[in-house]
């Protein structure tokens, strides 16, 4: 069982906007999957806020070190969705 995707890119960018606002001159709706968060205008505190919301609203726990190492949306989505799949497996 591969499990479903808990959060996709549009959902992540929506949360980023909602939790931390949007940097002027950055198009979050563009091809940002491999753009570094720093380039998108998000620092570690902005990510902390977003990660906090995701953990709270989906009842999952994310590994702090893995989150800190995720420098792009693709890397962060991998951390989130693999943690969600692990949780699903555990529950199954």
């Amino acid at each position: 069982m591969s499990g479903h995707t808990l959060i996709d890119l549009p959902e992540l960018t929506r949360l980023l906007r909602e939790c931390a606002g949007e940097e002027e001159g950055v198009d979050l709706d563009g091809d940002v999957l491999d753009t570094a968060f720093m380039e998108l205008g998000y620092d570690s505190l902005a990510l902390l806020q977003v990660i906090g919301c995701i953990q709270r609203d989906h009842g999952i726990e994310l590994d702090e070190d893995a989150v800190a190492e995720a420098e792009t949306p693709r890397a962060l989505l991998d951390v989130i969705n693999s943690a969600a799949r692990d949780a699903e497996k555990l529950a199954a």
Partner: protein, 405 residues
């Protein structure tokens, strides 16, 4: 020779006007910004009148990234700081970032933000507390946000001396200029119009409980019954006069010519309050005599014994009815860390335009107070030098002399 510190830019956010010219037009017209509290339900509190900044739409002034991380008063402060930089026609990107400092006055920090997040903590759990709470309610937050936004990495700080803070920051900015820093963003914007901030003010016992906005804050009168709190203030750009000239600054509002701060003796000591000493030392610092002062912007506590102490100080230094005295804060309320720097901004605008704004809603000083209080309408006068006084709850006194250059 010691470097001269001059003011080259103003940014004003006040209950009777958003922006310098709007504030100044309202102030000269005696138009008050006091009214019933609308920002929260104050109906069950003994005090219900405040000075709220009107027409401030955060999205029009604050970048999206800063909205989730800023208290209302920080948004006002960032707006005022941006306007001050603009007014001075300074391009911070073109200057040495370590040659620009930020010194602002504060009291409780982002109290409204802090209250909201603490309510989230108690009622919903720690997962609902914003990560930005870590600094958004911090008392030093305005200095930090201004410094980050304008990339000013020079000597920076925060002064917490209640109402005296608006002068103490400008005094400290002058200190930095004298030590060789060309530019310091200074002054204060403050406010805590939320239940948590409100009860802290009520606890001082100095808040007016009158319900008529025009009768709630009447300093120096028989009807004085306390003060009205407000939000807002002014951010001032303080520069080394030589550096300002060198970059081609178009406008110099005036020089910070003299400054002194004193502390009151312990209650019950029998010794006099420190306000008079602050006035005398500020004049000495400016190498000026009392006769050279053209107008005084009073602290105007609105508490009878404090009003009398201030009036007695002015009479002792200037003689009975010896100098025009005014208190435009009757139109804004007392703005904590923001009030005295707004008074300095008003004093500089008075020097610019040769006109003293009135003390609103006051017709005459109480019997026994020998003050030439400017009431009714603005008074035109030849003005070269103004004295601004401020007292902070807990014994802080400060006096500042500003002078046309």
């Amino acid at each position: 020779m010691t470097a001269r510190a001059v003011v080259t830019g103003l940014g004003i956010v006040a209950p009777n006007g958003l922006g310098t010219e709007e504030y100044w037009a309202a102030t000269l017209a005696g138009k008050s910004g006091l009214g019933p509290v609308t920002r929260f339900d104050a109906g069950r509190y003994p005090s219900r009148i405040a000075g709220e900044v009107p027409g401030f739409v955060p999205e029009e002034h604050i970048p999206s990234r800063l909205l989730p991380q800023t208290d209302h008063m920080t948004r006002l402060a960032l707006t005022a700081a941006g306007w001050a930089v603009e007014d001075a026609a300074v391009d911070p990107a073109a200057l040495d970032e370590y040659g620009m400092g930020v010194v602002t006055a504060a009291s409780g920090g982002g109290v409204e933000y802090g209250q909201r997040e603490l309510q989230n903590l108690w009622s919903r759990g720690k997962e609902y507390v914003s990560a930005y709470q870590s600094f958004a309610w911090f008392y030093a937050v305005n200095t930090g946000q201004i410094s980050i936004r304008h990339k000013m990495r020079g000597p920076s700080g925060v002064l917490v001396t209640e109402q005296a803070g608006g002068l103490d920051t400008l005094g400290h900015a002058r200190r930095h200029v004298r030590r060789g820093i060309p530019l310091v963003v200074s002054g204060g914007v403050d406010g805590a119009l939320c239940p948590w901030g409100w009860v802290a003010q009520i606890a001082t016992g100095r808040l007016s409980t009158a319900d008529d906005p025009d009768r709630a804050y009447l300093p120096f009168t028989d009807e004085a019954s306390g003060y009205v709190p407000g939000e807002g203030g002014a951010i001032l750009l303080v520069e080394d006069a030589g550096a300002a000239r060198a970059r081609g600054a178009e406008r110099i509002y005036g020089e910070i010519a003299g400054y002194a701060a004193t502390f009151d003796p312990r209650p019950g000591s029998g010794r006099p309050p420190g306000l008079r000493r602050a006035v005398e030392e500020a004049l000495a610092d400016a190498r000026m005599t009392a006769a050279e002062v053209d107008v005084v912007f009073a602290d105007a506590a609105g508490v009878p014994e404090l009003d009398r102490a201030e009036a007695d100080t002015l009479t002792a230094v200037f003689g009975p009815y010896g100098v025009p005295v005014t208190a435009p804060k009757t139109m804004t309320g007392r703005l904590f860390g923001g009030g005295a720097s707004l008074d300095v901004a008003a004093a500089l605008l008075s020097l610019r335009d040769g006109v003293v704004p009135p003390t609103a809603n006051v017709t005459a000083p109480a019997d026994g107070l020998a003050l030439d209080l400017v009431t009714g309408c603005a008074r035109e006068a030849r003005l070269r030098t103004a004295l601004v006084l401020a007292r902070g709850y807990g014994g802080f006194n400060a006096a500042m002399v500003v002078r046309r250059v």
